[in-house]
């Protein structure tokens, strides 16, 4: 486990023990990555912000399910994804169509491709990725989750996580390479 992971695990343990400072610490450490994760899932900044709050409310309610000293990020990302899936299901039952925003949010970009193109083309390529590949690419290449952890977060086999991440990075490189070729 990395030092950052150990610090997060320690914060979680203190949070579970009833420390308000630790709760703030968890929020401070996880809110930006989770917001980025939700933006990558929803492609909508406003929706992502709503779901971020819901995620932390849910996280607070199920905080006993975290077991130290396991890594915190797979647990937290899993909660955020569950909140996203439940919200999408509810919206589907209410008959709401997905709102295609005119002002798409800034999506996180894995370091492996950051130097391949400018910001605009990187953002366009990230949005074009199929969502299952986008999830795997970001979880592994940006936030450093292992494929086993990604499997547990997404409810897929480790091998499937590896394939999605691999295909996602290749697809990104192709998209950026294609756009480069078109210039």
């Amino acid at each position: 486990m990395t030092e950052e992971s150990s610090e997060l695990a320690e914060l979680m343990a203190r949070y579970q023990a009833g420390s308000s400072e630790a709760f703030e610490g968890i929020y401070g450490a996880l809110s930006n990555p989770l917001r980025s994760w939700l933006r990558a899932l929803t492609l909508d900044a406003s929706k992502a912000d709503d779901l971020l709050q819901e995620t932390f409310l849910h996280l607070h309610r199920v905080r006993s399910t975290y077991r130290p000293p396991r890594p915190v990020r797979p647990w937290a990302f899993g909660i955020a994804r569950n909140v996203f899936l439940m919200a999408r299901r509810s919206a589907g039952r209410r008959g709401r169509r997905e709102h295609v925003t005119d002002d798409p949010p800034e999506l996180p970009v894995p370091p492996a491709v950051q130097d391949l193109a400018d910001r605009e083309r990187l953002q366009s390529a990230m949005r074009e990725l199929p969502v299952d590949q986008r999830e795997a690419v970001l979880l592994h290449h940006l936030w450093g989750l292992s494929f086993a952890e990604i499997g547990g977060t997404l409810g897929i086999r480790e091998g499937t996580a590896k394939v999605r991440a691999h295909r996602g990075i290749h697809r990104l490189r192709d998209l950026l390479g294609e756009e480069e070729g078109q210039r």
Partner: protein, 223 residues
């Protein structure tokens, strides 16, 4: 608490619930609870209804061995369902599906093997009544056991409440069948159909109720 970092809603959530919590192994806790409940229910059933009269023909293996196999598989199903309600520890749907099919397959196979050891037909003209009675008893046991299993879901988090609740529900239903197997002696294929119907109906009811209940516990979306 420093008010500048946490949004108001989270501060309220903290104010409402800031008690220390103990890390919980949902998987172990849930499946152990169901297992313990089965151990309590079994002597009650035996006291009320008596052990099946053909137990000598079945032997220890056919009586307790088969029940143990079915209950073990059902507890595994409950455990896997609850593990999938542990964030970051979700299992692939294919695995849950495979275990569900294995559980149902074992239920049918054990019934066939039991029939091979003992032929205990239902009396003429009584098939419907006896079938409904057995299905109702299994359904009732499954509801008790399943409520305990799905109650554990309230501590968990899942994006697939239907699948997770169905896994727990089917596990509870097969536990009920494993217990009732020690009581009910009838081996007619038509009677097996009533057992299986009771199991499947219980699984569906528990799965549906569990799913609705888990969805209902979602924090209200922002206006």
């Amino acid at each position: 608490m420093n008010a500048s970092l946490l949004p108001a809603a989270l501060q309220d959530a903290w104010a409402e619930d800031s008690a220390p919590v103990r890390p919980t192994n949902l998987t172990l806790r849930g499946s152990a609870s169901v297992g313990l409940l089965a151990l309590v229910v079994l002597p009650l059933l035996v006291t009320v209804f008596g052990l099946r009269p053909d137990r000598t023909d079945l032997g220890l293996g056919g009586l307790w061995g088969f029940s143990t196999i079915e209950i073990a598989l059902s507890l595994a199903l409950v455990a896997m369902g609850l593990r999938s309600a542990t964030p970051g520890r979700s299992l692939p749907f294919a695995l849950l599906q495979a275990l569900a099919l294995l559980g149902l397959g074992a239920h049918l196979a054990l019934a066939a093997l039991t029939r091979g050891s003992s032929h205990f037909p239902v009396a003429e003209g009584k098939a419907l009544g006896v079938g409904l009675f057995c299905a109702s008893i299994e359904f009732g046991i499954a509801l008790v056991v399943g409520t305990l299993a799905t109650w554990q879901l309230r501590r968990g988090s899942t994006g697939r409440p239907g699948i997770v609740a169905l896994a727990c529900g089917l596990g509870a239903a097969l536990t009920a069948d494993g217990l009732w197997r020690a009581i009910c002696p009838y081996t007619d294929p038509s009677h097996l159909a009533s057992h299986t119907s009771g199991v499947l109906l219980a699984a569906l009811v528990l799965g549906g109720a569990g799913s609705l209940w888990v969805r209902g516990r979602r924090p209200p979306p922002n206006a």
